[in-house]
Amino acid sequence: MTQELDIVQLSVIMAMVRLVIGPSVGDRILSLDTMVVNAIGLIVLLGISQGTQIYFEVAMIIAMLGFVSTVALARFVLRGDIIE
């Protein structure tokens, strides 16, 4: 259980390294999206280890917010504005 938590945390850290060194804007948006997906996995693992069901809503809201923020960042780079 804790090994899986460690591995997913390690992959969050590796995505953050790509976020820092990433040469282009697309890489940074992509690594933010990857970090959001990793955070969903971390929260699901936390829910399994504590044996509760209350983390389902948290994971759902993070999935929705991650998708909206990815699309907003990409649209801002593409169009120079989010809502035109």
Partner: protein, 129 residues
């Protein structure tokens, strides 16, 4: 071999599969050398990694207490939204010219190009004729 033991083994196997795919996605995100190549590594955790972790959660919840299947909602949401965000990120890469530029269009064929319509000689020819 009773049902709980089988469910425990299934949970452990799904957890290990999910964690390994998360690690593979992060290694691919770090090691590839082109922005368009880098886009294809994190799709592993987007589908199989989170899918296996949520499957482990479903199996564990159904054996430990009276669980439900609403983790499948998150999986369905991720499966629907992952191609849309990948499409937008690919459009950002094309817009910023970070990837290899597409090949030039062959003569007398209609291809999508990266050129603006004013710079496209074929479009200009269509306007004058």
């Amino acid at each position: 071999m009773n049902t709980e033991l089988i469910a425990d083994y299934a949970t452990a196997a799904l957890l290990i599969i999910g964690a390994i795919f998360a690690l593979v996605a992060a290694i691919g995100l770090l090691r590839f050398n082109d922005p368009m190549k880098r886009m294809h590594a994190p799709t592993k955790i987007g589908t199989i990694g989170v899918g296996a972790l949520l499957g482990a959660s479903v199996v564990n919840a159904n054996t430990a207490n009276d669980g439900s299947f609403h983790e499948l909602l998150i999986m369905a949401f991720l499966f629907v939204t992952a191609p849309i965000s990948a499409h937008f990120i690919a459009k950002v890469n094309l817009h910023k010219r970070d990837c290899d530029t597409p090949p030039p269009p062959r003569q007398d064929e209609t291809w999508a190009t990266l050129q603006a319509p004013d710079d496209d000689p074929k479009d200009k020819a269509a306007q004058t004729s």
